[in-house]
Amino acid sequence: MIRFVLPLILTLVTAVPLRAEVEIQEVKTPGGLTAWLVEEHSIPFTALEIWFKGGTSLDREGKRGAINLMTATLEEGAGEMDALAFTRAKEMLAADFDYDVSDDTLTVSARFLTENRDKAVALLRESLIDPRFDQDAIDRVRGQVVSIIRSDEKDPNDMAGREFETQAFGDHPYGSDGNGTLDSVAGLTRDDILNAHADTMTRDRIYIGAVGDITPEDLATLLDDLLGDLPETGAPMPDDIAPALTGGVTVVDYDTPQSVALFGHTGIKRTSEDFFAAYLLNTILGGGGFESRLMTEVREKRGLTYGVYSFLVDKDHADLWMGQVQSANDRVAEAIDVIRTQWSDIAENGVTEEELTAAKKYLTGAYPLRFDGNGPIANIITGMQIQDMPIDYAETRNDRVNAVTLEQVNDVAKRYLKPDDLRFVVVGKPEGLTSTN
């Protein structure tokens, strides 16, 4: 359908994609810490990310949930201040501190005004170095965690996630919920919380990114004040694990009108030379956009779902190629059928040059758009460090995407997409689906 819009489209899509225009500096502190910094003095605040590699996977034997509970209690009092006093002090400075933890990483995200920087950093320091972990604070947060665990037990999305994790990873920490179980959380003592703190928040696993109104000299001083007194080392990292998934269907019976399905098989390491080809392939298969094969076939053509996605799960110690779909109980079997067919079709027949070109244009064009705002950029540059990427990665990343050939993508499709190995975990009352081994 060539109409007036088309010539304009052609001119514009052939334009050279933008480069990510951020200048990242490496800052080495006198105290021996390394950080990446992007100076941005036009708005008087700084976004600071401090990440510790390890996460809830470092929970000690029998203490599942300790690291999660510890992380959630960091802001519940420090130094001379109890929980309310600490929060009031933070509010007075209009600083934001967020403490979060996932399987592989414990993250501290802060933002503070330039005018309050010294006070905000001093306050943040108390919570990292000298958290009180008062018994009443631990118990209060424990009550909240218990409620979350109970709610997750009845949430079809969480139910699917748990079943999938258990099948894939068994006794490895990845195989269970980082929140812990009702029993394990009930048994956690203050000593367990202190151990969780000592195991995770140490200098040998720290990654730092800062963006905003701060100079390298000021950042170096700030970081040595903030983190200099953390212990040197903590718990050893967990082992790598190969997912133990087999092809088939697992139905988790649950009375809800729409089934939730998670599916997947073994994935690909970020460090593999095939990674960029796989990343492009996933974009074509089921990456975010409305144009992916899965969205086109399952949603646009058949109206079977509101959303269907595939994604590469690149964890520190395991890799999966996964997807998700939600569809009414009487239609989910058809949705799964279409997904299997697409998975097979791409594995056998590959993708087209046209699809690859479109995916490259999307990925290379979208990349610089991620660098919008101090907070997002701080996240990106900290993530780059924890993934061991070079400091000039942002400048070369689009070239790596563009260098991938159709042959490489279709070779990766053949070697990695295994329709027969896909395990579908379906939570709901799906019609026409039964569990297989």
């Binding site: 997750d152 509101y306 479109a358 999307y362 758009l369």
Partner: protein, 471 residues
């Protein structure tokens, strides 16, 4: 939890940021506005730090503008706007945006429907060419209707039918409004969604999709002159709809009877109590009461140190979680709401009674001056932090202008918040807390030997009903 971010992919649209969205506003010097000859208002927000723009078109038409009987048609049409036009194939707009490295989507609320793309700044003309095209030139087929209607029903399944909390919110909201369309869910009642037709969609489209009923917001690395030139080229040639009617929607009568409801669902693990009150909204030139209500919601429910939390969670230990919200930005009468999630061993009746006791105590004690100072400090800081996120600024203007405010109202708002006194808050609270205008809800699961405890994260915590739904 190991895979949870992924397992929750599809839930991201439910994330809500009412309180933070109520607080900050842009500094005026970044914002320029003008009106095209066909009546289309244009707002430009400059941010030259990165070569990116957000291009948005906001229609002054949402679900509350629908004709009775076709609930959900505003949102259904929003989905259908991604189908073919005279010049674009079905799906071609999104495909073109993606091939240009951009992202696009749309969302529908009670008061507006909006479409946006985020792209490299030099692609702005292309976005305008496509967005202006679908304002008038949509070409829908019966086939589009059949397939896309299944998609919105699956969307309803995902957002509402699979979530007892959402089903509960829907019923409570319907009880809050006796006459206004705010009582009907944005996504629609299921039985009406199943009957939505091509004619229903086209009738809504022809009535509301016109430049004199739309606002263009462009934010990012552009100048007002560049936007003016492009807007004149792409949007100004579209003729206005001369038959556009004023938005006089059925108003609420005087509410004179308390409403109470209870909803039990076996999928509920965490019972809780909700209370909502009919409340005045921000009106143009008249935002002082709304400003006081924003401060009231922060004083009562703002974070750990909100009055409800200090009293009920820390002091009395009767709750594991409390919160307060106020949706100040709304074309018509809005709501102010409270939540309490009881602690282990505390029944919903006890929790509700404790909540009411604390509200009564608050009216006696008055406002903690130090807390009010801290809130104001955070609002000032919010104005700095918000300059880091030009897309949220764009949304502030687009939603404000489609919800009855002017640019002047939006820009005066931070000063009005700073001017709120302790007395203003108490006066607003006394007017607000009238049970005859309130809905109290109890959400419960199946009876259990012991009663439960509460969520700390936004994912598990009770939430106000979704204010918008997306494409």
């Amino acid at each position: 939890m190991p895979l949870s971010p992924l397992a929750r992919l599809a839930r991201w649209t439910a994330a809500l940021t009412f309180l933070s969205a109520t607080l900050a506003t842009a500094s005026d010097d970044l914002v320029t506005d003008f009106t095209l000859d066909n009546g289309m208002q244009v707002v430009v927000i400059e941010d030259h730090r990165a070569p990116v723009v957000v291009h948005m078109v906001w229609y002054k038409a949402g679900s509350a503008d629908e004709t009775p009987g076709v609930s959900g048609v505003a949102h259904f049409l929003e989905h259908l706007l991604f189908k073919a036009t005279d010049t674009l194939d079905s799906g071609e707009l999104s495909k073109t945006v993606a091939e240009n490295g951009g992202t696009d989507n749309a969302f529908t609320s009670f008061d507006y429907t909006a479409y946006f793309q985020r792209v490299a700044a030099d692609r702005l003309g292309l976005m305008m060419s496509m967005e202006s095209d679908r304002m008038r030139n949509l070409r829908l087929t019966e086939d589009d209707i059949l397939t896309e209607r299944q998609v919105i029903i699956e969307e309803r399944n995902q957002r509402t039918e699979n979530s007892p909390q959402a089903l509960f919110n829907e019923q409570a909201n319907a009880a809050q409004y006796l006459n206004h369309r705010y009582g009907v869910p944005i996504i629609g009642w299921r039985h009406e969604m199943e009957e939505l037709s091509l004619q229903d969609a086209l009738a809504y489209y022809e009535q509301f999709y016109a430049p004199n009923n739309a606002i263009l917001v462009v934010a990012g690395d552009v100048t007002p002159d560049e936007v003016r030139t492009l807007a004149k080229q792409y949007y100004e040639p579209i003729p206005p709809n001369p038959d556009l009617q004023p938005r006089d929607r059925p108003a609420e009568p005087r509410q004179t009877a308390e409403r109470r409801l209870s909803y039990e669902d076996p999928r509920v693990a965490q019972p809780y109590v909700t209370r909502s009150y009919l409340a005045p909204e921000r009106d143009t030139g008249d935002q002082k009461t709304a400003a006081a209500l924003v401060m009231l919601s922060e004083v009562l429910g703002g974070g750990q140190t909100g009055y409800l939390n200090e009293q009920l969670v820390f002091d009395q230990k009767k709750a594991l979680y409390t919160s307060a919200y106020y949706r100040g930005q709304s074309l018509d009468d809005t709501t102010f709401g409270l939540y309490i999630v009881p602690a282990e061993g505390v029944s919903l009746d006890e929790a509700e009674a404790a909540l009411d006791d604390v509200l009564a105590q608050f009216l006696k004690d008055g406002v903690d001056a130090a807390k009010l100072d801290r809130i104001k400090m955070q609002i000032r800081a919010g104005q700095v932090y918000e300059r880091d996120n030009v897309q949220s600024l764009a949304r502030r203007y687009g939603s404000g202008l489609t919800q009855g405010l002017t640019i002047k109202d939006i820009q005066e708002w931070p000063d009005l918040l700073q001017a709120v006194t302790e007395d203003d808050i108490l006066v607003a609270a006394r007017d607000l807390f009238d049970r005859n205008r309130a809905v109290t809800g109890h959400l419960t699961g199946p009876a259990r030997p012991t009663d439960a405890s509460a969520p700390a994260d936004a994912d598990a915590a009770p939430q106000p009903a979704a204010e918008e739904v997306s494409q």
